[in-house]
Every structure is written in C-alpha cells, then in structure tokens.
C-alpha cells in the first residue's frame, strides 16, 4: 500500500457570511465576499492528518479544483498538516459550471495517478449541499465507500467506519483502497499554524492533463432568495385570536 491519502478541499463562501443573491438572479454574490475551506473539508483534512500522526498512513495530499484562489484553501490544508498540494486549474465559465460529476472524474483520475490508498472528502459542500462527490468518485473508481463517517479506524488493510444514518449509527468494514466522506462529529479540526505553511509545495495541473472533460450537463436557470418572512399580527384577546384563526381557515 502506498500509504498516501488524498483529501479533497473546496473553497466556499465562509459559513458566517450573510448570502446575497445577485440582482439578475443568476447566482449569489461572491466578489469581495469572505471565502474559506468548506467546514466538512476541514474535518476531512483533520482526519487525514490524525491518521498520519498515528502512523497509519505516510503522506497527506490536499487537492482543490478552481481558479488561483483555490491555492489559499490548499495552503490552509498544508497549514493543518498536509504534506503537499495539487491545484487543478479550472477558471471562468468552466468554474461557474463545475459540479460534483466533473469533480468526481478529476478525483478518480488523480486517485489512480497518485496511487492513493484512501480518498477522504467532506460529506457535502455548504454552498451547493450536493452530497454527491464522494459517492460518485467511489462509483467511478469501483472502490468501496464509507460515507457520513463519524468514526474511522484502520485495521490492517480494512477500514472500520461508523456511519451516521437516520436510524442511528451503522458500523461497516470495507476494503482499501476506499473513499470516505467526513460527517460533523468525526473530529474537531485543529487551527492552522504558520510554520507549517513555509516549506510545502503546491503542484498545478489541468483537467485535460488528467483526461477529464469538464463540460457541464446542467444549466442554472435562476437563483432566488427564500420568501421574506411576513410581519406577524398581535391580537388583544383570545376571542380575537380564535376569530383570526377561523378567518384564515386554519381552524
């Protein structure tokens, strides 16, 4: 086994930012807005670095797809303890239409190229909430998948994964190589530290170099804000309340 883990990290609008829809309803405002690493990707990086600290794996490689700014996100992963980074350059219109299917193809190609033992992703991104990339990548690679992981342990050449599911917790054992997606309770990500960033390298590659066609088959028609919350009405007495409820057909 190569002992190499690939971690996918996505640059998204920071979770604390108040999102605004563009006036032309084509998307959300991203210019000048704070971006950071998707929180579930932070958890994925933390898990990979922990595995390396426990000496289960040898190298953590952080990967991000996007324009130049994606390198900031990779640098955060390096500052958390990843060993090197790969920036897959996708810019302009291609970046606007980049979605889980294309990213899965890119990750699948990289996983093969880097002879990865494990691919760890966040379970979903907080901008599109797709929750698809991990599963699609596993399917493309024909690898087992441990998704919504809240606990991961390596046992020889198998992985035990405790998954968070609707009914509670499910424990599975899968072979490696495998794809894991990180859920909220998997760990608490460490803070980035400065000295870690200094000596590490980020390699650049294009989707075409990996033989991946990133044409999108989806077209966004329109983006709208959720409807504004209407003001409430105060009533003076219980009788008024009952009358209003009857009026509105609620009772």
């Amino acid at each position: 086994m190569s002992g190499r883990v690939l971690v996918g990290v996505k640059r998204v609008i920071d979770y604390a930012v108040k999102i605004r829809v563009k006036p032309d309803n084509s998307g959300v405002v991203t210019d000048g807005v704070k971006h950071s690493m998707n929180p579930f990707c932070e958890i994925a990086v933390e898990e990979a670095v922990k595995l390396k600290e426990k000496k289960f794996i040898k190298e953590v490689v952080a990967v991000s797809c996007g324009p130049q700014q994606a390198q900031e996100t990779i640098r955060t992963a390096l500052a958390m303890g990843a060993d090197r980074g790969i920036h897959v350059e996708v810019t302009g219109k291609d970046y606007d239409t980049l979605g889980p299917l294309q990213v899965s193809k890119i990750f699948a190609a990289l996983a093969k190229k880097e002879d990865a033992q494990l691919l760890i992703l966040g379970k979903q991104a907080i901008d599109d909430d797709c929750n698809q990339t991990g599963q699609m990548t596993a399917a493309l690679l024909d690898w087992p998948q441990g998704t919504f992981a809240s606990e991961v342990s390596l046992e020889g050449d198998k992985i035990k994964v405790v998954r968070e599911i609707d009914g509670g917790l499910e424990t599975i054992k899968i072979n490696t190589p495998a794809v894991l997606t990180a859920d909220l309770r998997l760990n608490t990500p460490r803070y980035a530290t400065l000295p870690n960033i200094m000596k590490k390298k980020i390699a650049q590659v294009k989707p075409a170099d990996l033989g991946v066609d990133i044409t999108s088959r989806l077209e966004v028609l329109r983006v709208d804000e959720p409807p504004q919350r209407l003001a409430g009405v105060t009533v003076e007495t219980v009788d008024d309340l009952v009358a209003k409820l009857k009026e509105s057909g609620t009772i």
Binding site: A192, T193, P195
Partner: protein, 495 residues
C-alpha cells in the same frame, strides 16, 4: 464567569450601595426622551434602529454582575460610525446620558444606566475589517466577539489570545482592559490594542493613533490608545479596535501538578518564570476547588493546591520546557506531575480548570456565584491567599479559588444564597476586606474586571487623591457634562 442574579432583591446588591443606584431617571431625561428625541434617533438609524420596549431596555441595563438592572430610557442600534456620531450629537444637545453596550458580559455593572439615558447597542456593527496577515494586525467593529474573530482567522495561522471567560465584544474588552488565562505569555488588552476609533460625547470621531495607522510601536504623542483602554465607556464610544495578532502555536502541551501548600505552588510559578520557560498559562486551583471538581466530575485529583500549566512552542522545543517545569515542581515538593500533547488528553488533564465555575456552583445547588478579582505582586500571593482562606472560614463563606497565578491575579468564586440577606452582607464585607488586603500588599482592587459601579471608592484608595484628580481632569476635558456612562469609575465630585 458570572451568572446574572440579584435583580429581584430589594437591597442594592453585594458590591453596590443604595445611593449608587438610582432607578428612576431625573425628569429632564424622561421628558427629552418623550418629546421628539425619539424621532431624531429614528431619522439617524431607521425605524428598526430605536427601541423603547421594556424587555429590550431591561436587557440592555444589566450585565453578568451582581448589580441590579438599571434600564436605559431607550436603546439605539447604530449601523456605522457616522450614525454613532450623529446620535451622540443629539444626546449631547439634549444632555442625555450615553451608555455604550457590546455583549453585556461585564462583571462590574458597567452598562447600568444609573441616570437613565440612551444605550448605544453596537451589535449591528459586526464586521471584521482590514486583516493584514503579514503585519499581524486586524481591525474589528464592536459587534465582533473574540471567538468570532478567532473563527474568522482559523485558516490563516493567526489568533487573538486574550481570553476572558465570556465570549465578549473585542471593543468591549478594550473598554474594560480585559485579560484572560493567556496573559502571562501574551499580555492583556493594554498590550494588544494598537489603535482605536472612538466617538466622543460631542460626536467628534477620534482615532487614538491616527486613522488607519498600525505600526507595532510608536513614540508619537500622548498615549491616547491606552487612555481609552480601560475607560469603561466613560470617555467615549469605541467603534473600531485594531488588534495585535499572534501565530497559532505549532504545538501545545498541558500539564498538571499538585503541591503540599499554596507557598510551594507559588514558588514553583515564580521559578518557572525566572527560568525563562515561555509558559502560556499557569492556573492555580486551591484545595477547596479541587475537591469541588472531583465531586462534580467524578474525578480523583489530589485534594490540595494545584497548578494547571500549558506550554506553547515549536514541536521540538516543548519537551525541554516541560522537563524544566517538572524539575522545578519536584524541587518544591510537587507530586503527580502529568503532561499531555494530544488534544483529547490535554482536555482531560485540564478538565478541573474548565469546569471550575460549574463545580463551584454545584457545591451548593440553588445558589448563585460571584467572582472576586484582585491582583498582587507574585511574592505577596501566598500571604494574601492564606489570609483570604482564613477569612473565608471565619466568615463561614464558600469561596473556592481560581487564580491566574502567573500574574498574581486570583478569583474567589463566592457561592452564595441569593435569598439570604445576612449571607449576602457577609460576602459584601468579605469582598471589601479582600480588596483592601490586596491594596495593603501593593496590589490592585481589580486585576481584570474593572471598576464599574462597585469599586469606585476602592479606586480612590488605590490610586490616591492626586491620581483621582488627574482622572477627573481628563474626564472633564473629554466629557465636561458627564454624559458618557455616568456613575462609573469615578465617584461624584464633592461639591
């Protein structure tokens, strides 16, 4: 650290006196507010930016201290410094008191509107502005709390280390000269504020170090920045603060050790500092606190004075630091020295320190807690702790002790029955004796929490009449009509 309490009491609270707290504002304020000032406020900060609702006013008239709630007459919510300035001008024209409000997590009654007036709630000004990673500085508005800032910075490798118990507004922390467990290594707000944007009582906007300036040091003119730090809203409304940031430590090690006596623990602290070990936190817990923690969390710490230490540094260097500290503790009779590097074990080792507040409360269910706050030179700490513990026993009070012993600063967490006026009175007297004991040992009546309402007389004892006259002179220069947060820090002038 505090829970709100006592507002239903008929007396004036543990540390306040009847004449300090005026619940009904003078007629002039009431009528000004009633007649047309509200519409002037609304034209500045919008319909939603002004509230006279009782619940909103009460919420803005109390903090986490023992002092009774003194609600303002109206609360305004400005959105930018221009609005703050315009509102201040209106207040000035109508002689209305101005009370700045950040997160309301103060511990000395700083936001009590003792003369009524207008509370300026700054929570809508909540942007992190101007982060300069290479220069290690950032500017924030009053609505940004310390945890929010550190979350914002989490990808950069930088952090702001001043950590009072509450998740307080950073501008509020500047106003009260706040401090935390990290002060021994990283300093308090006094050492970490580079510049402030302040709106004065007359509406003028002051940049204490010059607009936008952020050199790491300066020798230019009077130190207005540190004049405003700790002024508790009595000199102006802080609308921006520029802070000094630090690199997140590459590695952290936590350690715990117990001692046969308070003296042994303090001696170890002094020697660790003298040895140049760059310790980041040294916290002291007395035997009563250790016992409380054991009971609360079903732990088995030794029930004796203990030190909780934390070391920050590069991966390689920490082992030496820990070894040096361990040798020192052993030399002083310390035992049970344990240390840990990974986050999970560090949490476990420090559990007693983290749970101290709740463990204290659990000693007497149904009671409230109040944290005292004094600071003395390190060498006087053993004596003041021993005398304080004797006083606690004699006064039949429950007061487990937690201390930032690296600074000579400690807190007795007074656990007291809020429905027992006699006990409350004993606590009140105890707290005064404690403050005077600290003053007698070349210390201060407040290490971290500020003067607020309850320590004004003690401040006068501490600094002496000349200093108080100079402070009054500064106050008169910046706020001649005493509109800025009246009733705090300085006692009313004798006429």
């Amino acid at each position: 650290m505090m829970t709100s309490s006592y507002r239903n009491q008929t007396h004036s609270g543990v540390a306040g006196r009847a004449q300090d707290v005026v619940h009904v504002p003078p007629p002039a304020v009431q009528s000004a507010v009633a007649h047309g000032v509200l519409s002037a406020f609304r034209s500045v900060c919008g319909e939603d930016g002004v509230s006279s609702g009782e619940a909103v006013r009460e919420q803005h008239g109390r903090d986490e201290s023992v002092h009774r709630c003194c609600p303002p007459d109206v609360v305004v919510f400005p959105r930018c410094v221009e609005e703050v300035s315009a509102l201040a001008k209106i207040c000035s024209r109508h002689s209305l008191p101005i009370i700045p409000f950040g997160t309301g997590t103060g511990l000395e009654g700083g936001v009590s509107a003792v003369k009524g007036g207008v509370c300026f709630s700054l929570r809508n000004m909540d942007q992190v502005l101007d982060l300069h990673q290479d220069d290690f500085d950032v500017t924030v508005e009053p609505g940004v709390t310390r945890k929010a800032l550190n979350s914002y910075l989490r990808g950069t490798g930088l952090w702001f280390p001043v950590d009072p118990g509450a998740d307080a507004s950073l501008c509020g922390m500047a106003a009260t000269s706040a401090s935390g467990t990290n002060a021994v290594r990283y300093g308090t707000m006094r050492e970490n504020v580079l510049n402030l944007e302040v709106v004065l009582a007359d509406g003028r906007v002051l940049h204490t170090a010059g607009k936008g300036r952020r050199p790491r040091k300066t020798a230019a003119g009077y130190n207005l920045t540190n004049l405003l730090v700790g002024s508790e809203g009595t000199l102006g409304i802080i609308t921006k603060t520029t802070l000094r940031l630090y690199g997140v430590p590459e590695a952290t090690v936590a350690a715990v050790c117990s001692f046969p006596s308070v003296q042994a623990a303090v001696d170890s602290t002094v020697q660790v500092l003298q040895a140049g070990v760059p310790v980041a936190r040294i916290e002291f817990l007395d035997d009563v606190m250790m016992d409380a923690c054991n009971r609360f969390s079903s732990l088995s710490y030794a029930v004796s004075p203990s030190l909780f230490l934390e070391f920050h540094g590069a991966e390689g260097s920490l082992e030496e630091q820990v070894k040096a500290a361990e040798d020192i503790t052993r030399y002083n009779g310390g035992s049970g020295f344990q240390w840990a590097k990974d986050a999970a074990t560090r949490e476990r080792l420090w559990k007693a320190r983290h749970d101290a507040w709740y463990a204290s409360l659990a000693l007497r269910p149904g009671c409230k807690a109040y944290a005292t706050d004094v600071c003395v030179p390190l060498s006087r700490l053993p004596q003041v702790l021993v005398e304080t513990k004797e006083d606690l026993i004699e006064s039949r009070l429950t007061g487990p002790i937690v201390g930032h012993v690296g600074d000579g600063n400690f807190h007795c967490l007074m656990v007291v029955d809020p429905d027992d006026p006699e006990e409350l009175h004993r606590v009140h007297l105890f707290v005064e004796r404690l403050a005077r004991r600290a003053l007698a040992m070349d210390g201060t009546c407040t290490g971290e929490h500020g003067v607020g309402l309850g320590k004004r007389a003690l401040l006068r004892e501490e600094t002496g009449p000349v200093a108080v006259q100079v402070m009054q002179g500064v106050k008169d220069a910046l706020d001649p009509r005493n509109l800025m947060n009246p009733g705090k820090i300085l006692l009313p002038r004798e006429l």
